[in-house]
Assembly symmetry: C2
Homo-oligomer: 107 residues x 2
DNA sequence: CGTTTAATTAACGGATTCGTTAATTAACGT
DNA sequence: ACGTTAATTAACGAATCCGTTAATTAAACG
């Protein structure tokens, strides 16, 4: 099991966050495809993918000379779970804020 | 409005994640209190708090010579919203996984 | 006004991050 | 076995991060 800080670190880079979002939207994709629509080199992308893999955010499988990457849903769930663990805190505050704004609208 | 990658970056350091979690659990606390139960110096903590503040995760108010820090719920909500935006992806996968494991248990 | 308390900013060193180009590994087709 | 395609690892430099100690700012109090 990887640490939550590692998950956050993996998603703290714009290139990596974009990769994860694209893989979620389009599903499994080869590394080369991810390189094409980025403005960095293949080696740079390769190391970003390694970071994502080591953080448990993506997994890799080989097909011919290509490596296909996809998002591991467990990683996403661990983030969601973390926000839910603390939801009692931020939800109440947000509700207060929403109520306050709604009352202001009535003026 | 701050970027989501900045939010993730702020939470990618164990000291900062611990600070945020403690502030959520205990509410507003002075910087000095956060230093005490950490094993880093006051200047180091001060810069961590600055990172959290610039990422919009905490806010600060002054009381006497102390600075009181608290978590901004909006930041937490933005993370929760992000997971919900992609929930359709990971939820379905997790459900499949759960079903699969349940079927295995029956063997 | 000088002192104490609380916290920050300044300055510096070591480690890590992120990009590049060059070299290497891996799988496939002939 | 050889060449091609796809991707990774190696090697290096610039920038950023994170810790430290020393110096500075800010508020409160006699």
């Amino acid at each position: 099991m990887t640490n939550l800080t590692d998950t956050f670190a993996a998603l703290s880079d714009p290139t990596r966050l974009a990769v994860v979002e694209r893989l979620m939207a389009e599903g499994e994709l080869p590394a080369g495809r991810l390189v094409k629509q980025s403005d960095i080199s293949a080696p740079a992308m390769s190391r970003h993918l390694k970071v994502l893999r080591q953080a448990g955010l993506v997994e890799q499988r080989t097909q011919g000379t290509s490596r296909l990457y996809s998002v591991r849903p467990e990683a996403l769930k661990s983030i969601s779970d973390w926000t839910l663990d603390h939801r009692a805190f931020w939800q109440a505050s947000m509700d207060r804020l929403a109520t306050h704004l709604a009352l202001q609208d009535e003026d």
